[in-house]
Each structure stands twice: as C-alpha cells, then as structure tokens.
C-alpha cells in the first residue's frame, strides 16, 4: 500500500483537493480526499504541498518502435513493403528498453499509445502501454487501441514515387475502400460458416469491420480529414483522426461528426507540404468549439517530454489552462478508449500519477516522482 500525503491533488474531474491524501492499493487509487487516514504500514510519499496530477498520457507516439537516437537501426514503425499491412502488430516491434521510455518516465508520462507509422494505408495494430521499467512488452501493454491507417502524402509518396499504387490521393482512398470491402466480404463468409481461405490482412481487419476496434487515420490536410470521415461513415467504422493539422478550417464538420481528434505535433511547421499549416490555431479553435481532442507530439517527431510544453504554449495562444491539462491526460485517455481507467485521479482508476515541482504546464517545472500502477518508476535526483 502506498500513500501520498500533503498533496495538492488536481483530480481533473472533481476539482482540486488542497492538502489531500491519495491511497493506492493493488495498483489502483483506493481513496482520495482531504480527510483520508493513512493505514499503518503504508509506504508514504510526502508531497510537501506539491501538485499531484494524473500521469500524462501520450495518445499517439512511436516510442520504442521508432527508437530515438538509433537512426535506421531503430526504425521499425513502417513495414514499407506494401501499402496494405494490417497484419502487422506494434507489439512485435516495441523495445521497452528504448531510451524513449526513460524520457517518458522523466517527463511524467505514464502511458502511451504506440502506433505503427504512416507510410501505409493500413499499417498494423496499435497498442497502449504503461511506461513501466520492463523488458517484456506484454507486461506493459494493457490494450489494443486501433488499426493504424494513413491518407495524404505519405502513402502516395512512398509507393507512387516508386511507380507503384497508390500514387494519388484518390488512389489512397480507393485502395483503402477496396481492402475494407474485401474485409467485409471475408467477415460475412466467416460468420456464415463458409471458411474462406486464411488471409492475414483480412483476419486483422475483422474487429475493425465489426466496429470493435477503431481505425486511427493519419490526416493532416483538411481534404484528407474530410476523406477520412467519408470513408469511415461509408463503412460505419469506429475511428479517430490523427494529426488534424488543418482542423481549424473544418471545425463544424468535426463537431457534426463528433470526431475524436489527436492534434499534433504542433510545435513545428511542416516538414512537408501536407502539414505546412501546423500551428496553434487548430487546438484553440477546436477547444473553443467543443470538438473532442487531445494533444500529441507524435514522439519522436516532437520529443514526447514536450507534450506538456505543447499544452503550455496552447494556453499562451488562448486555450483554457485546465482544458489544456486535460488535453494531455483525460482526453488522451479518452482518445485511446481508456478513460474508464486513466486520465484523472478517481477511486478505482489506475494509480498513475505524478508529483510535480510546480505547475505541470510551467516550462520550469520538473516531474519529481512518476508513479505507474502504484509503483514509483522515476524519482528525480535533487542535488
């Protein structure tokens, strides 16, 4: 049993508890409040008035799958041998000992979605992992969060430039539709007991076709976002929109479709034509309109430790401070379909939280203690 005492608890869902206590039992938050008794024998972290928030959640990263600082050797995010590789699974490429996870723990990130890259129309299954210190990926994975997909310039560039399909945006859309259509047919045959010939791509797409697993679609430009929504509506898929760089141009459309968006990375202009409009206009506009979104760094496109830096900058551009904090915790958890267990300090949720040296959005603040599933996974050395 672990107790955090004398903490300023920013619960995110039930306000701030000054001089509060948080009790952890079996990796879950057992009690939280100002008048909670610390049981005898519990390990105690004295926050000494410091702020405690839920752990930061990075909904869209390539941690451990495109390892930082390793160059080509560390890049395992894109099975770039065919545009249709839904049969790939992120769990087979994540190195939990990668430096990315050290960075995440030091930055107060307690869980992250790890997605295949965006070279392929269908890139493989994405998972959510805890940033535990472990070499065994199974010990870190706690959910499959979706099937990675991509529209826009990456697939058409990767294959089109090699004179293969797809080579245009309409080619992207048509190949994606064709594959989804085949998966529908494959699934129908299976459900009818017809036993179609095993197809690894079709098998992987069955939960997508059934609406059980969302499709996570890379789309930067407004037209690519609109195409993503069009295709998902045609096939009645559960989906999330990833990047949404030009979202500010189509706020009403996103609202009308109640789309879930992961916005980012926002701190750089485009590295390429499709994301040249990267800016803080989109998060500010989406937040004001009430579109459901979270921030992402797309780590290591922007370093994941600067997810909270991104949220801080968004405040300077006019986003509400508490909403900005939710957009890197609770809303990121919602984006991954995990807000029932992550993203706020509530009894019954996972004991993922951070003791901060100050306001977590402040650029001068350190994560002092990072706790994942009730275990201290990082503690800052104070010299």
């Amino acid at each position: 049993m672990l107790a955090v005492i004398n903490a300023r608890l920013e619960t995110l869902t039930n306000g701030v508890i000054e001089e509060g206590t948080l009790l952890v039992k079996d990796g879950k938050i057992a009690e939280i409040g100002a008048d909670v008794k610390v049981p005898e024998g519990a390990a105690v972290i004295d926050a000494k008035g410091r702020t405690v928030t839920p752990g930061i959640v990075e909904a869209h990263s390539h941690a451990g799958i495109n390892e930082k600082g390793l160059g080509w050797e560390g890049r395992d995010g894109n099975e770039g041998t065919s545009p249709i590789t839904p049969w790939c699974h992120a769990k087979d490429a994540i190195n939990m000992l990668a430096a990315d996870f050290d960075e995440f723990r030091e930055a107060g990130i307690t869980s992250t979605g790890v997605l295949p890259g965006s070279a392929n129309l269908l890139g493989g299954t994405a998972v959510a992992v805890k940033t535990k210190k472990t070499a065994i990926v199974e010990e870190a994975i706690f959910a499959e969060i979706g099937m990675k997909s991509a529209l826009g310039q990456n697939p058409k560039g990767k294959y089109g430039r090699a004179n293969k399909a797809p080579s245009t945006r309409m080619g992207n859309a048509a190949m994606l539709r064709e594959t989804l259509l085949k998966a529908q047919q494959y699934n129908r045959k299976k459900e009818a007991g017809e036993e179609p010939k095993f197809d690894k791509s079709m098998e992987a797409l069955i939960p997508v076709i059934k609406g059980e697993l969302p499709i996570l679609i890379h789309c930067h430009r407004a037209d690519d976002i609109v195409t993503s929504i069009r295709i998902c509506n045609e096939f009645n898929l559960k989906y999330t929109l990833e990047h949404v760089t030009e979202g500010y141009l189509i706020v009403d459309h996103l609202l009308k479709n109640d789309s879930l968006c992961a916005v980012g990375p926002t701190m750089f202009y485009g590295s390429k034509v499709e994301n040249k409009e990267r800016d803080f206009r989109t998060p500010v506009a989406l937040s004001k309109a009430g579109v459901r979104f979270c921030f992402t760094t797309d780590h290591a496109v922007v370093a994941g430790r600067h997810l909270r830096t991104t949220a801080g900058i968004a405040v300077s551009w006019g986003m509400d401070r508490d909403e900005a904090l939710k957009a890197i915790t609770l809303y990121s958890a919602r984006h991954m379909g995990q807000d029932h267990r992550l993203g706020s300090l509530e009894v019954g949720k996972d004991a993922d939280f951070v003791v901060w040296s100050g306001d977590p959005l402040c650029f001068l603040t350190h994560a002092d203690v990072t706790v994942v599933d009730g275990n201290v996974e990082y503690e800052r050395e104070v010299l």
Binding site: G69, F363, L364
Partner: protein, 388 residues
C-alpha cells in the same frame, strides 16, 4: 521619434529598470532610463508595466533556405556533390518571403545568422540579417559571418553513403578539412607574394573563404554533436590556428570542463530535440545549464527548422529549468550571440546608440501564460500577435 514608457525593461547590459523609458529616433535608441528627456510632440507608447527585452538573436538558423513545408523544391541548404564547398553563400539561397521569417518575428528573433547545412565538411558562408524585409540584401547586417563546417554523421552519410565518394568516415571528414586549409594556406602565400610584387593574381573562389578564416576575419563554425566530434573540432582549429565556434555541442555536457579550459564558444541547439539521429542520442535539455555552470560561453540556437524559430523563448525557459537565471538565459539569446557575430555595437542589448530592436511581453517571458505581443526592429513594429 517614439517614446516607450511605463515598461519593465531588461536591457541585458545594465540593471533591470522598473517603469522605465526608451526614446527612439531613426531606428536607434537615443536614450534609456527611469525617465528620459523627450520632445513634447513625441509619439508615446505607454506599456502599462509590460515587459521589454531586446530582440533575440538566433546564432544559427536555416530560416529561408530549408523549405518549411514547401517540399523538396525549396530545400536549398546543402550544395552537392562537392564535399568541400566553401564558395557558396547562404545569402544566395535565402527566400525572405518564406514563412520562417514571420515565424522568427513571432518568436521574438530580430537578428539571425543564416548558415548552410551540415551535409558537407565545408559547406559555405553564412551571414547575419534582420528578420524583417522584402529584399534580403536590405536586411543583411553582416556578410559573411563565418565559414560553415561539419563533422560527425551528416557529411559521411551524404558523401560516403549516398554519393559514394569521400568522406565515408569521421577521420575522412577531418582529413579533407585539413587538406583544404593546407591548400588555402599555400594559396594565401602565393596571393600575398603576388600582391607584394604588384603582379596579377587569379582569384580562386574555393580558397578565398579559407583565407578569411586563416586571417581570423571570420571563424570556422563547425557542426559537432557527439563529444568526440566536438573534441576533433577543437583539435582542428588549434592545429590550424583559426577561430572556432562549436555548432550544436549536443554532448557538451559530457566534456564541459574541457570546453571551458579551451575557451570554446558553444552554440547550443536545436533545443527541445527529439534525438532524431545517433549523434544526438544523448541530447539533454540540461546542456546549456551544465555548460554555463562550467564557465563555457553559451549561445542558444534554433537551427530552424529543427527547432521552430517561434519557440525560441520556450527553449530558453526549458533550459532555465536546470538552474540558470532568466538574465543569464537572456544573455545566451542576445548579447552573447551579438558578440560572437561581431555585432555587439549594433544589437544584443538595449543601450544608447544601438538598433531599437525590442520585444513587448504581457508577462514574464518564461511563463506559459505570457504572450509576446509585439516585435520591433529598428523602431518599427514588424509583428503583432494575431488573436486565434
């Protein structure tokens, strides 16, 4: 004439002035202090206690030469295929209409050194300019400001790996640099002899920049991330007796005492890095603080687009997290680069006689709630914060 009043002024050189005033005429600061003598008919800007700092100086950027979302058509930073390419000048690649110039103004950068990329062991000349204008030649304030060099993985990758010629290794890169300067020395001797004897001499564009470096008119600005590359940079410059600045200095935190002992100028960045390459694997946000505490002279750089110019001050704030004062970080973004570029008579602090390049903040520049409201260059407002 413009009178700024009721400003909390951080002049960088000199103490902070609460509710101070600055008088500007013809783009220059003519008076600064608690109160200044101003003519009655002067235009007044009452800042109501807002914060004023000098415009920031970015010692190393690729603003205007690196595409910024325009794709391959606008990538003009690395001239190929020659590994030794001193004859090019970044000025001839720079597009002042690229969005990065506006980003620089948004980030509070009023002066910057624009340099060629790091694909070549010797990559060409850099220059310094203001961040506002229509015609790049009218924005230049010094040209050239240095000869760009590069060690580490970029040159050996571009040449050895992609173009299949030398250099293919770190020792190859250093060897080609040595060879170039030895040739430049021989060229310089011939040129000087010809000048002495009043004889005609055929100028060779390849060696003219080398001569400028050998005569210490400009420094050799060497891209070096990994600790051993930084040490090689110092070794080369000591052997050749030339002025050196270490660009990036990512592993500087591992060899801070060595850098202090050798009086090395460290231009550190891009900040907030994602460690995209092997040579940047050990990047830490604490690097500027560690170097500063060891006594190394530090300038911060964006290396735009690798850190977007618009987030330069955020880089400063994150660096301060590891134990540097606001005033010291501000020096790394103003007067230190001004001195490193030989522009300290003109920019880098708010002092009488200097250019009226300044920024107006509605709060402390390190706070995430603070807005940079306006950027001024030579007394003229060149950027105003849009409302989203």
């Amino acid at each position: 004439m413009l009178l700024i009043k009721n400003a909390k002024i951080y002049p960088v050189v000199g103490d902070m002035i609460e509710r101070g005033q600055i008088l500007i005429d013809n783009g220059k600061i003519v008076a600064i202090g608690q109160t200044v003598d101003a003519p009655a008919e002067v235009e007044v800007l009452d800042l109501e206690g807002k914060i004023v700092t000098p415009g920031l100086i970015d010692i190393h950027t690729h603003v205007g030469i690196w595409g910024d979302g325009e794709g391959a058509d606008s990538m003009d930073g690395n001239e190929k295929p020659d590994a030794i390419n001193p004859k090019v000048n970044a000025l001839d690649s720079t597009n002042p209409h690229q969005r990065s110039f506006e980003g620089a103004r948004e980030g509070g950068i009023t002066t910057m050194q624009i340099v060629p990329g790091s694909g070549n062991p010797i990559g060409g000349l850099g220059f310094a300019c203001k961040s506002y204008g229509n015609i790049i030649d009218e924005m230049v304030i010094k040209n050239p400001t240095g000869l760009k060099g590069a060690l580490g993985e970029n040159p050996k990758n571009l040449h050895g790996n992609v173009l299949k010629h030398a250099p293919a290794t770190r020792m190859g890169t250093a060897g080609l640099i040595r060879e170039y300067f030895e040739e430049a020395k021989a060229y310089m001797a011939k040129k000087e002899a010809a000048e002495k004897e009043g004889k005609d001499f055929d100028i060779n564009m390849k060696y003219e920049p080398g001569v400028m470096v050998l005569r210490k008119e400009i420094p050799f600005r060497i891209h070096a991330h990994r600790h051993d590359d930084i040490v090689t940079a110092v070794r080369l410059c000591q052997e050749l007796d030339i002025d050196c600045s270490v660009e990036h200095c990512t592993d500087g935190h591992k060899i801070a005492d060595f850098l202090a002992k050798n009086n090395v100028l460290a231009c550190v960045g891009p900040g907030l890095s994602n460690s995209g390459k092997v040579e940047t694997a050990d990047f830490t946000d604490a690097n500027p603080a560690i170097l500063h505490k060891a006594g190394v002279k530090v300038c911060l750089m964006t290396d735009h687009p690798f850190l977007n110019t618009r987030h330069f001050m955020t880089y400063g704030a994150v660096s301060a997290r590891y134990g540097i004062s606001f005033e010291d970080v501000l020096k790394m973004m103003t007067i230190n680069p001004a001195e490193a570029l030989g522009l300290e008579d003109r920019v880098g602090s708010l002092e009488v006689g200097k250019d009226a390049d300044f920024l107006i903040y509605d709060g402390h520049p390190f706070s995430y709630k603070t807005k940079l409201e306006a950027t001024y260059i030579e007394g003229k407002q060149v950027w105003e914060r849009p409302v989203y």
